[in-house]
């Protein structure tokens, strides 16, 4: 045991998750999402979840799967426009949504993981986002107080891990994954490859294994593409 965090199944990945918990899901659109844990949650009877994720998946994939099953009570996101089911549940009142500017969302999570309860930002000043929030002027510029976010579980996706949970991300699939890893009481990393201890160059590690509690490796990530655009010839 010790620092060995490798698990074998997606069921182990979601072990301990209960209804009404707050969960973070990494990813931007469908890029870099923890597919396996979402699939396992869909199979479970867990519901009434508060989900913190930049987006809400699409119909039939990503968090769209949990919406389909009505397992989500509240979403904290910056952009949810790709999901018809989401619109229906939101308009019927079945789903609560807290729209948060993307940078504020990222910083709320970063601050949460770093033990900082809140921070001031200029983002949203003069808009609906600022309503009811403390305003403060620094050097003549107005800022609002935003409170940080933490989660019971954070589900993230990386490319490569060693058994201690040191992670390497791939390209733009890092997005929210690295910060969310720091803000989960328990963090589960889904990875495409697990290498031997010592094989990762410590200089090149993107996220220290201290933030990762469980590692699930899989060979068959779907990695669906939302907008397949190719160069005109």
């Amino acid at each position: 045991m010790g620092f060995n965090k490798i698990i074998k199944t997606a069921e182990e990945a979601i072990e301990g998750v209960q209804s009404s918990m707050t969960l973070m899901f990494g990813g931007f659109g469908l890029c870099g999402i923890p597919e396996k844990s979402i699939a396992a949650l869909k199979k479970s009877s867990i519901n009434n979840l508060t989900c913190i994720s930049n987006n809400a998946g699409v119909d039939g994939f990503g968090l769209g799967l949990l919406l389909e099953n009505k397992q989500i009570k509240k979403m904290i996101s910056s952009y949810v426009g790709e999901n018809k089911l989401f619109a229906e549940q939101f308009l019927s009142g079945a789903l609560d949504v807290e729209l948060t500017p993307q940078g504020t969302l990222a910083e709320k999570i970063r601050a949460g993981g770093a033990g900082i309860p809140g921070f001031y930002t200029a983002t949203g000043v003069g808009t609906k986002v600022a309503e009811g929030k403390e305003h403060k002027v620094f050097n003549g510029r107005t800022f609002i107080l935003e409170e940080s976010l933490l989660a019971d579980f954070a589900f993230i996706k990386a490319q490569k891990a060693d058994p201690y949970g040191n992670l390497i991300f791939n390209k733009t699939a890092e997005n929210f994954n690295s910060v969310m890893a720091t803000a989960g009481k328990i963090t589960i990393a889904e990875v495409e490859e697990i290498v031997e201890l010592g094989e990762l160059d410590p200089n090149q590690i993107h996220l220290s294994g201290i933030y990762v509690d469980r590692i699930l490796q899989a060979d068959d990530f779907e990695k669906r593409i939302e907008q397949r655009t190719i160069r005109g010839l």
Binding site: C31, P101, T123, T172, E174, K223
Partner: protein, 204 residues
Amino acid sequence: MSEITGWSRDEMAKKAAEEIQDGYSVNLGIGIPTLVANHIPEKMSVMLQSENGLLGMSGFPTEAEIDADLINAGKQTITTALGASFFSSADSFAMIRGQHIDLTILGAMEVSQNGDIANWMIPGKMVKGMGGAMDLVSSAKRVVVVMQHTDKAGQSKLVETCSLPLTGVNCVNKVITDLGVFVIEKGKFKVLELAPGVTHAPLP
């Protein structure tokens, strides 16, 4: 109705590209702003930022180059430019909030004469969310809006006061429409240039 059509989307993008200087880091929004990338002079070194975690975005990939892990903020598959770097969403917005990005070019539904911008929600319609727009407009060194001058009902989108929920206040520097180029100075729109054949652009 007048016969004047003004600039096409691509011509608007070309006009917006004139805002870019050698050595700039630029964030381009979705829609017409995305087309601006096609008009950056080749002799210029410009880095395009994609807020999902990339500085140094290049064009769409070939079929063979497509990578699900490499997308832009519009969720389109893309490629990287020489000198590109990847980073987390938190770092990406540190870059934006910390004013390290020189220029933001984005679309809008309304811009008011004091530089307020509305581009994220229409009351009564399904709200999709503001994404990164509020962060971008509140902290960019310079904000240029590219949009059609009038809405579908023929009303000017350059207004005295925005009627739609705001994305940011007092933050837009310049507006490029199909009819012309307008700067915001001392709480008023000032015509810098009109598109060929256009003799009048409705302003508040």
